[in-house]
Amino acid sequence: MPKSDHILVKELENNEGYKTGFIILNSPETLNSLTLDMVKGTLDQLKEWADDPYLAAVSIEGAGEKAFCAGGDIRALYESMLQHPGGPNPFCEEFFEQEYRLDYMIHTYPKPIICWVDGLAMGGGVGLVLGSDFKLSTERTGFAMPEIGVGLFPDVGFTSYINKLPKGVAKFLMLTAIKINAADTQAIGLTDYFLHSSKKQEFDKKLSEINWMKDSFSNVQLISSLLESLEQKEGLGLESEIKPRLKQIESLMDGSSLQEVSNNLLNVKTDDSWLQKAARGLKRGSPTSAFIIWDQCVRAEELNLKGVFQYELDLAIQVTRHPDFAEGIRAAIIEKDNNPQWKYNEINNVPIEWIKEHLEPAWDVNPLEDL
């Protein structure tokens, strides 16, 4: 049954033939980063289960204690970009297309999906979580959209979340790449329940004891009740960093141009080390990525979910045809010098034509036209 070496799939029998499906991203040594094979394997498995009338619900988790999923397999993307500078680049195009298809399928899946986010969820990992129905956090959860640091942009459907988070928060997370904890994700609504990681076995056991019903409407209620009985109501034992700063974030991110918002954050007079860390994230990030993020925040207003994935696919492919993404990966994970040489190294120096090139459609017909 496993469709990729790095995902484990199991089905547990519940009642009267009804089953629960489990998908375990199983590459702990790479923090369960999504390879093309893992994406395709998960996509195929979900398609098969969607048509199986006895499969009631799906739980997705990552192997090991460190990560749910730390993102996409950017090493493979890097190698492919070196081989196809300026594109077209068949591997990158297939990777992003299939990854977004998987994310979109999770958003629109006819059965409830649970994501057990124990450990890191970054970039592509967040993409799996956003569309799921039950987003579970634990004391080990760490969320981030770190793409600006490698010259990409927060994709995987994140554009559709920009206006769902408290004002300015999405822009802040995208521009600064800052990592937040479970108290933060609960506070801003990125996750729904907090469960202590020690509850995992009990959760799996009780999940496979639920008396599933025929319709997913009832099954959603059954999962809700189970989670309410297991969640840590008395508090997380964690301090939210973001909650006390929501007002400040809103005002820092409020501005009519990227330059203004960026200056707000970079020039903020504060001895708040958390905010300083955020500002460093922006300063280190690709200025070209920052402009793309700005465009995402503008377009988020008008795009529906399908439109979001089509728009992001165009952007992602344009990014693979321009130099910052490969340079960002080189500096972060290949040569690890952490000293990326961005094509334009200051937001103020980026020519508008350069950004416009990134915003052009990458094909005549978008491969996700059929979503």
């Binding site: 409830p112 729904d192 209620q221 309410e228």
Partner: protein, 256 residues
Amino acid sequence: MTNKLRISIKGNTALLTIDNPPANTWDLESLNYLQESVKELNNNKEIFSLIITGEGEKFFSAGADLKVFHEGGKDAAEKMTDAFSRAFGALSNFRGFSVAAINGFAMGGGLECALACDVRIAEEQSKLALPEPKVGLLPCGGGTQQLPRLVGEGWAKRIILGGEQIKADLALTIGLIEEMSAPGESLKTAFELVEKANMQSPTSVSACKKLIHEARTSKESYNNEKDPFIKLFDTKDQGEGVAAFLEKREPNWRNA
């Protein structure tokens, strides 16, 4: 304030999003907030129309959170039914044009919310039902009163007494919804519809809506429109509408 119901204003339209994951259920807090918000929107002359939808791709709204009835007993039940009738009553009497963009399951109080709107658009994958009798309850947000008006007594009984879930295509056939859209497209379709309504005089739309509602109980057919019609001549919009037509330009509505 609650984050279970988000409100944003786009031009002359208010967009209300039920956001209480995973099933977008209603509780006292969100129902009270809906009631207050509709009141505020009624007082805001900039607002001509309202769209209500559910967060996500699967649920418009699953109705009341059943836990309330399980834990709270009769007292809680009374508070809930009161909140439902006040909130959906307010929505039904919203001054302007209202559209429900049904993006998935609309069950119980979720469907009743859509029934309180002027028009319903549902995405193909949506399922609609009033399953309260299945759990020993009854629809208390207007379901038994509004549904027969839309679909006739036979279908209303089949849905409520028979406990049947209606898919979007059947809902369209029986008149439970006025339009079906592709998955993910209900909001877009709703905005297109509302845009047309917003081109009409908001004072006229409001007066017409009131008359249509009064016709539900009125025995008289030809006298009811006279007074409201004459009253329109006290409004700025009436003069503007006729003037704009004669001057071949777009009217500039004041909602006054």
